[in-house]
Assembly symmetry: C2
Homo-oligomer: 175 residues x 2
């Protein structure tokens, strides 16, 4: 079976969407999507709220209650039958996210097991046939076929084949 | 730089030793080292205490307070200068161990960073030049040079080159 390595945040889960929803409810502030270009959706929030956003990301529970990306469950359920699927999340920067991410995954994707999750600091360490990720820094060193999963912060990237949503992932991987 | 992938439990940390110390203090029971052969130090505890040992492993805090293997800090500090060191621990089976393992690592090995830690379910996913691990199931699929780190449960294994302790690791990697 071919191996597909799939990123969690901004690919399966929607931390940016959750943070923006919360921020607009609490502060009613404007989001600057232009500032996100270059790799970080966090930069879309105003300078004077950066520390607070970071604190919320570092806290307990934030990654436990994220929305699941549309069509992700259905497509991944099928992919899991046909490929060796591994979910790889760069998570060790956020100690409180680790258990949250595991529980979130097993709740929303009950067909996956703990054996399929990797929580790491650096994705250069993993290998496989395909990688789906929203960050160039993660795709860069991967030796298999790479797909950039479209996200607000990577709209300016042109060097990679894209997957714009999970319907498209299904068209590529389940044909 | 060559990449060395190093296991945590029974290689850097001593969960078996910690569990035996606690068990003998609490219950004064005998440990059957013969039963460990075949891959699991947990089987060294009597049948009627298996559930309790498992519960302790699954609980919060167990992996936070483990002893560090002798000479591990000094040798690894040097290795970290000369190699690309990654610590890879099969940990997602134990949700409460994840944050504990990260904090334990950064406390005892302050020269390592969160970028160097991977908490996974399956080590087939990682690649590098060397792997040091006490489990055949982890070494088996690795494509680089493999070293079996000696532990009570693997004394009967003959197919791998061994590292018996961190002094020996130093002789191999720091010559």
């Amino acid at each position: 079976m071919e191996r597909v390595i799939i990123d969690m945040d901004e690919v399966m889960a929607d931390p940016m969407g959750a943070m923006i929803d919360w921020y607009q409810k609490e502060y009613g502030g404007e989001i600057n999507y232009q500032n996100m270009l270059g790799g970080s959706w966090g930069r879309g929030f105003p300078e004077h709220h950066q520390a607070m956003i970071r604190e919320r990301l570092m806290g307990e529970g934030f990654f436990r209650h994220l929305p699941v990306m549309e069509d992700c469950v259905d497509v991944l359920k099928e992919m899991n039958q046909r490929y060796e699927v591994f979910i790889v999340s760069a998570a060790t920067e956020f100690p409180n996210s680790l258990k949250d991410k595991l529980e979130w995954l097993l709740e929303h994707f009950p067909f996956l097991t703990w054996k399929q999750l990797t929580l790491c600091g650096d994705k250069r360490l993993v290998f496989g046939d395909y990688m789906i990720d929203d960050h160039v820094k993660n795709l860069k060193y991967f030796q298999g076929k790479k797909y950039l999963f479209t996200s607000a912060h990577n709209l300016n990237i042109t060097e990679y084949d894209r997957i714009n949503n999970w319907k498209e992932a299904g068209e590529i991987f389940l044909k």
